[in-house]
Symmetry: C2
Subunit: 127 residues, 2 copies
């Protein structure tokens, strides 16, 4: 595909408020589907479908851990530098993740697996 066509197809995907916010959130974090569902107040299939599109063009990758699927930015994508240039112009969305944590809705798969922490046994949220 010509560079201008590939760029257009990526920009089209980024040209949706939900997906653009997802990408900004993933700029500094890893999120799983149920966190996005909580954050956007949308149905789980709607979230999955957005993530599918991002995954299909290779903008994000997934990491299945425990019963969750965590998504993260694919920094090896051809157009990642362009994507990052755009994301860097956007205001941080971190406060949304902080709010999730305060609401006890943030997923912490690591503490469950007991690989990286000693606390949170018996719960499936991180804080």
């Amino acid at each position: 595909m010509l560079p201008i066509e590939e760029t257009a197809s990526i920009l089209k995907l980024m040209g949706d408020k939900t997906r653009l916010t997802m990408l900004k959130l993933l700029e500094g974090d890893t999120c799983c589907v149920c966190e996005f569902v909580e954050l956007f107040g949308m149905s789980q299939p709607a979230i999955s479908q957005h993530l599918r599109k991002l995954k299909d063009v290779g903008l994000v990758k997934e990491d299945k851990r425990h019963q969750w699927v965590f998504y993260y930015l694919n920094e090896d994508h051809d157009l990642y530098p362009m994507v990052e240039r755009v994301l860097s112009t956007l205001p941080s969305q971190q406060e949304k993740l902080l709010q999730l944590t305060e609401d006890g809705k943030r997923i912490d798969c690591c503490s469950i697996k007991g690989e990286n922490s000693q606390d949170d046994k018996g719960t499936n949220v991180r804080d």
Copy 2:
């Protein structure tokens, strides 16, 4: 509108091959509708509708001269810096304009008005 929403709406417009190429062409030039029609091999209404969308969000402005309407990038747009960051990652499309010139299809309104040149009297193309 929230910054992330405004950015998404601009990216959506840029997420079309024709409009993205138009913007890249306008990065270093001014073009009129009939030049775009020639360049893209599309109907004149289709071109006008793309330009209308770009104009509606303020990404381009128009300059009516002689019987033509010339479009150019609006560098004062809020998101112009973001747009320029994206365009700068794209390969130049200048050769398309050169081809137009070779084909004698490039419009030169200035020489017609006789404001900036002494040649080309009686023709409506620049070379």
